[in-house]
Structures are given as structure tokens and as C-alpha cells.
């Protein structure tokens, strides 16, 4: 099972590496969206500082959501997903491998880029740190939940927008606690509770989401 997980992860990372354009696009989207907000609300520093956690988190959420289209759909189209269902390894393990690769390629770059963007919003140092940690815990949750939505809408017409509709309400708790943690740090109340809850969500998603995704994949492939 570990071997299968490792091979799926390795395969997806190799594929992402050979199509670096896709990966970079998601990151650029993140930067552009974040930059739009000051243009929309004005450059006043204290207002931007207040908005920053929410803006950065919403942008990260949207970037993650857009990249869900690449999670299962290409494999579905060339028949490799079918082979995974026939692999004789538990599908849950293979799904976990794909989600891990998805996070490394789509989520982790956001975590690394966020502090730079946070500086644009004049976030103080400790808030930047908490922002990174909250994204580090939160973006895997986004990938895990997103995988369920991507699996449900596999091959369905209009699936791009439909995935967004399905997944965004489910992202609300992650957003609330992720952005809340940074806000709490900035206002001095401390972010431990938020981060612990995020950690709890991560554990819950790790247990439930791959299982739901595997069920959804089997339903989609019938």
C-alpha cells in the first residue's frame, strides 16, 4: 500500500513538473487576485491591514479551487483513472496519493508566496507567521474536500463552475478559522484556538474525505 501511494505521488509530481506552466498559472492567479483588492477598496493602510487575512485566505481558496480541475479529469480522459480503480490496491490510498501531490503542487506554493503578499498589506511579522501556519494546515483541507467535489463532478458538463458551487460552502469553516487566526494575532488575542481547530478539521478530513472521494469516483466511473 505504501508503495502504491508512493508511486501515485511520484507519478503526479512528475507530470506536474513536466507541465510547469499549469502550476505557475495557479500561483499567478493568486497574486493577481490579491492585488485586485487594494485597487478595489483604496490603498489606505489600516483598512488593508484589517482586510489582509480575509483577502489572502479567499484568494488562496479560489486558487486551490481552480486547480481542482486538474485533479481527476485528465486521468479520467486518458483511461488511467479506470486502471487505478482496477489496481487491486485500496482506492483510498491512491486517492490520498493524488491529493498529496495536488497539495504539494497547488497548495504549498501558496503557503510560500503568502508572506510576500502579506507584506504588501503591511501585516506585522507575527501575523505573517500565523498566516503561513494557518495556510499550511488549511490548504491540505482544501485539497481534501475539493477532491470529493472533483470526483462527484467527473465528466459532467459545466463541471468547472459546478465544482465551485459544491465546494465553497464546505470551505467556509476553513476560511473562518484560517483568516480568524491571523486576525486574532493581529488584534492580540492569540491564535492557538483557531489553529488547533484547523488541526482538528485536518484530521477529520484526512479520515473522511479520501473515503468519500473514492466512493464518488466509483459512482462516477459506473
Amino acid at each position: 500500500m505504501i508503495r502504491a501511494f508512493g508511486w501515485v505521488l511520484r507519478r503526479d509530481l512528475m507530470l506536474a513538473f513536466r507541465r510547469r506552466g499549469d502550476v505557475v498559472n495557479a500561483l499567478v492567479f493568486f497574486v493577481i487576485v490579491v492585488s485586485l483588492f487594494p485597487l478595489g477598496v483604496g490603498p489606505e493602510a489600516s483598512q488593508l491591514r484589517n482586510m489582509a487575512p480575509g483577502v489572502l485566505w479567499v484568494a488562496a481558496l479560489l486558487a486551490c479551487m481552480l486547480s481542482l480541475a486538474r485533479l481527476f479529469a485528465p486521468d479520467h480522459q486518458d483511461g488511467t483513472l479506470e486502471q487505478m480503480l482496477l489496481a487491486g490496491e485500496p482506492l483510498v490510498v491512491l486517492v490520498l496519493g493524488k491529493v498529496a501531490a495536488h497539495w504539494l503542487v497547488s497548495g504549498l506554493p501558496l503557503v510560500l508566496m503568502a508572506p510576500l503578499l502579506g507584506l504588501q498589506f503591511d501585516l506585522p511579522g507575527d501575523a505573517l507567521g500565523v498566516l503561513c501556519v494557518s495556510l499550511l494546515i488549511g490548504t491540505p483541507i482544501l485539497s481534501l474536500i475539493g477532491a470529493v467535489a472533483a470526483a462527484l463532478t467527473l465528466g459532467v458538463r459545466g463541471s468547472g463552475v459546478l465544482v465551485s458551487l459544491l465546494v465553497l460552502p464546505l470551505y467556509v469553516p476553513v476560511l473562518v478559522f484560517g483568516a480568524g487566526s491571523v486576525g486574532a494575532t493581529a488584534s492580540g488575542t492569540g491564535a492557538e484556538a483557531h489553529l488547533l481547530l484547523l488541526g482538528g478539521f485536518l484530521t477529520l478530513s484526512l479520515v473522511l474525505a479520501p473515503w468519500a472521494s473514492a466512493a464518488a469516483l466509483r459512482i462516477a466511473m459506473e
Partner: protein, 250 residues
Amino acid sequence: MTKSERFSWFVFSSPQTFYPLAGKLQPWFAAAAALLCAVGLYISFFVAPTDAQQGESYRIIFIHVPAAWMSMFLYLVMGFWSGVGLVLNTRLSSMVATALAPTGALFTFIALWTGALWGKPTWGTWWVWDARLTSELILLFLYIGFMALQAAIDDPRRADKAGAVLALVGVVNIPIIYFSVQWWSTLHQGASVSMKSAPTMAATMLLGMLIMALGFWMYSIAAVLARVRSIILERERHTDWVAEEVGARA
């Protein structure tokens, strides 16, 4: 009693036998709904006392709160029947779940709209980002997502099962979403402009809300029975009994 004589509820799990049963029951539930809602509205508008702070405008709570309760309750029922359809592979349970969604969405919409109607005279704004209204908004998105997913998938059995997975994921998430919105609301709202700052419940007010809730429940059952009947006709249209049924009516 021999086995063949023993009555089994499972006989009603076939669309063909459920169809006439639903048809017979539906008018009774509709009548009960009309009666209970009439009584409930009478209590709301004429019996319950005027509130000292909010005057007459608070009366919208008699629609707002029961509608919110129903929206939540119907989602759980929808999740239950989808789950049954997924696990036991029964068509009728999934059809009931599909039939529940629009009614649930309707009550969510009513809760949101009546919330706005309450907010305007009371606090001067059409929308208040308080915990309950925000949770209702997200619940509306969950209902719409379920309906959109089922509408987008052509194969009815796949639509049933995919909808079931989504509904069950939703059921697990709803407590989490409510909790996070609650947390968010208490963090950000100091002097709370909250729907919870309703007048303290006099017994008549609670009675009024309960009767309205019961009336809404009867309405939901009536609406779902009617909707399931048309779903059955549509999904089973290639069978003989439907052809006879439609032919007999034409």
C-alpha cells in the same frame, strides 16, 4: 400467519405501489397544513401580545423561526433518504431525497427573506450578518449545490448516488459550518445585532411557533408526496403501469 400473509412495509418501497399511496395521503397532509398554518397565523397575529421593544414587526418571527427549523430538518431528512438509497440501492428513497430538496431550499429562502423583513424595521438594514442568517445562506448554497449536481448528471442512478454522497458530506459539515459561523459571529460583532435578541418567549409565542412549524411540516410532506409522484412518473415512464396510468388520465 404464514409468511405470505404477513404485511410488510417493504411493499411500499416499489415506486409502483408507492405512487397510489402517495396520491391518497397527499390531500390529507395538505388539509392538515392549511389548518395548522391558519391556526398558527391567527395566534401570531391576533393572540400573541405586542412586544414592548419591537412592536408589531417582531411577528415575522412566527414565520422566520419555523422556516429556519424546517430548512435544517429537511436537509437532515434528505441526507437520511439519500443515504438509504445509496446503501440499500433503492430507487424510491433517492427519489424522495430529490423531491425534498426544492422544498428545503424554499424554506431556507423564506427564512432568509423573512429575516430581511424583520431586520429592516428593527435595525434599519435589509441584511444582517448574524450567525443564523449567515448559516441559512450557506444552507441555501448547499441545497442549490445538491440540485445543480443532480440536474447536471444525465444518468438518473448516477445522479441519485452522487447526490447522496454530497448530501451526506453536507450533513457531516453542517454542524461544523454552524459552529464556525457562530464563532465568527461572536468574534466580530461586539454589541450584537442579532436575531437572537428576540423578545423573551411568552408561552403563547412558543405555541404559535410550534404550530406554524407543524403546519410547515405537513406542507412539506404534502409537497414532497406530490413531487415524488411526478418524479416516479418521469423516471418509470418506460414501464407498462405508467403507460396505463398516463393513458387513463389522457
